[in-house]
Symmetry: C2
Subunit: 231 residues, 2 copies
């Protein structure tokens, strides 16, 4: 199988990244179930995990349809995403929920970028995934409720959220160095003009990466607010 | 919420047992993914796990529709099923596959019993779950392929399968003592006439339990053969 000529290789990278991220989230949510305080909580976590698996499957199957080996497309992102998971292991049920919310938010930003850049069929698939927002609201609400009961938690969880993003930016930097094309793609569409292909290994990309980080950080602050946390 | 008058309490027990068994299988399959030798294998395990979650959801929602608290219905089976999982932790990918096949087979026997005893709507749901057989075939095929490559494995995996059933029977005995009604229900429909309600704590039930065990063991032998193993 070979790639069709019309497929933007950066989009393949993005689909591979998201496919592995969804698989990783699946395993993490399933594993975190031990932290769930009740049988009901465990059931709910299992349902969330199954949704991630369904998203993974959509992306996996779409990559195949595009003539790309899904495992090959995911491979470059296994190490950085596993490293992020390992470096940010939640110690409590609430930390796990905040991690889910933050990770979903960042993934959502990436999905929206795919929707902007990809072919129509891929865009429709991605918009279907993005439409499943009910779960993020449940997570934010649960965190807000916990903060209302115990306001002292806000400081600790805000710090936790900051660490989550800090570690994500660290891994993103490593990916950006290895996949300059992807970094350029993600850096486009912010306030400055795109630099895709202009300078595939030079300063243009570093600037694009900085813009990508700035844009991620902005949206992250809004997401923290939705959970009742501060950036 | 209270139970409708038409619901056989033994059926509620069975639905609760199966609901928790599916949730347990979900967590086990997701956890076993570390044993999968490839990214492809991990993805496949995640898909299997998601199917278990979907089955759990079907049973959970049906219990609610029947006016029963799903968590309450599952509660009596948490300890014996968790104990079974803990006492039979697979050490290899193949052991994990054999466990999946054996556990699915036993669950299938229980689902068929529910289909015989329950109301029409529950029966249709259960038959829908049972119709998803593709996955069991994939598992049996993978085990047979591995045995063809390395026939020495057959002895070890046959022993493993025997231990899986032995441990299951041990836990079933404990459940049968605590839920004589359920044991009676499961013992019916074999070669001897049913004893449901006849002697809820006495010898009648012990006989029913023995019949249930005999019937489980018979079908188990056929399932081992399908994987190329011996009883």
């Amino acid at each position: 199988m070979t790639k069709g000529p019309s497929v933007n290789p950066g989009v393949i990278d993005l689909l591979g990244l998201l496919a592995y991220a969804e698989l990783g989230s699946f395993f993490r949510l399933a594993g975190d179930a031990v932290l769930a305080p009740t049988l009901r909580g465990k059931g709910r976590l299992a349902a969330l995990a199954a949704t991630e698996q369904a998203h993974h499957q959509v992306l996996h199957d779409r990559l195949e349809e595009l003539g790309v080996d899904p495992e090959e497309a995911m491979a470059p992102f296994v190490e950085p995403l596993d490293a992020w998971q390992a470096r940010t292991e939640p110690k409590t049920w609430l930390e796990s929920l905040v991690k889910t919310y933050v990770a979903d938010g960042i993934a959502g930003d990436f999905y929206r970028r795919v929707a902007e850049l990809a072919d129509d069929e891929t865009r429709i698939l991605v918009e279907g995934v993005l439409a499943e927002t009910g779960r993020a609201e449940f997570v934010a609400e649960t965190v807000r409720e916990a903060l209302a009961e115990d306001p002292v938690l806000a400081g600790r969880l805000s710090l936790w959220a900051r660490r989550l993003v800090g570690e994500a930016l660290g891994q993103a930097q490593a990916v950006a160095v290895q996949r300059p094309r992807l970094a350029a793609l993600l850096g486009e569409g912010s306030d400055r003009p795109g630099t895709e292909g202009a300078d595939a290994t030079g300063l243009g990309d570093l600037a694009a990466v900085s813009r990508m980080f700035a844009s991620l950080t902005d949206r992250h602050a809004a997401r923290l607010e939705a959970m009742g946390l501060t950036a």
